[in-house]
Amino acid sequence: MAMGGGGGGNMNSDINITPFIDVLLVLLVIFMLTIPTLRKVLEIQVPKEEQSQSTTSQSNNIVLEIKADGAITINTQPVDKTALLAKFHEIYDVRPDKLLFIKADNNRPYNDVITVIDIARAGGVKVFGIAPPTAEEAAAAAASHS
């Protein structure tokens, strides 16, 4: 009788961890499902076909160019990569329209453009446009492709 009571007492003092693990695994799965529902993006405006000509001819736009060797120029003025953020602040802190056109060489990696957009957002730019290749560049690209 006394032994039986003692055995019962030992069993009750043990914490049963199996349901805990079960609950934790279910929670883990719930978190795994909910996390990817948020995307991180950088938005780029796509010009309409007929607008693309007029926007490139306007001279008061800020156009950033990434050359074939990776050098960066803003309105044809060369800018060092490390000084880019300061330069963006200098331009856009006093400018009402937070618009930047980016023109990248065809052989530069996509990553370069994303990096520039990222820095530009830190520098106060709100709207981004990709400058389409000029007619002769497009023709050259088409010729190399076929």
Binding site: T37, L38, P109, Y110
Partner: protein
């Protein structure tokens, strides 16, 4: 066991589609909530196209996009671009051109947050 089953159910379509791409990383990103109606154009490292995870040929991209925008009831034509970071801009420009032909107004490039960083500017959409 059930947990493992669920995990495999989630990963199986990703592996089966053959989409292999590494997203670029950035710091000052915009948060966009995923929606089942979103149009996602994927370009993997071999420059093959995927429209909402289904493989598609380059020639059919514009038609495919048009069809998706016609069936989903979205007013703003946003296309999510999930492209490998090492792709040449030439390929991206081509994809942008195809998207423009389908009437896309905004391209949202999907970018991974650089580990241990938070955005220094607003993460909300500006427009």
């Amino acid at each position: 066991m059930l947990v493992l089953l669920i995990i495999f159910m989630i990963t199986a379509p990703l592996i089966a589609s053959g989409f292999e791409a590494q997203m670029p990383t950035g710091i000052n990103l915009i948060k966009a909530t995923e929606d089942p109606n979103d149009v996602v154009l994927g370009i993997d490292r071999q420059d093959s196209f995927f429209l909402n995870t289904r493989p598609i040929t380059k020639a059919n991209v514009t038609a495919g996009l048009r069809q998706l925008y016609a069936t989903t009831h979205t007013t703003d034509k946003i296309m999510y671009l999930k492209a490998d970071k090492n792709l040449k801009m030439k390929d991206i420009q081509e994809a942008i051109k195809l998207a423009r032909d389908a009437g896309v107004a905004v391209i949202a490039a999907i970018v991974d947050q650089q580990p241990l960083t938070t955005s220094t500017v607003s993460t909300e959409r500006d427009h």
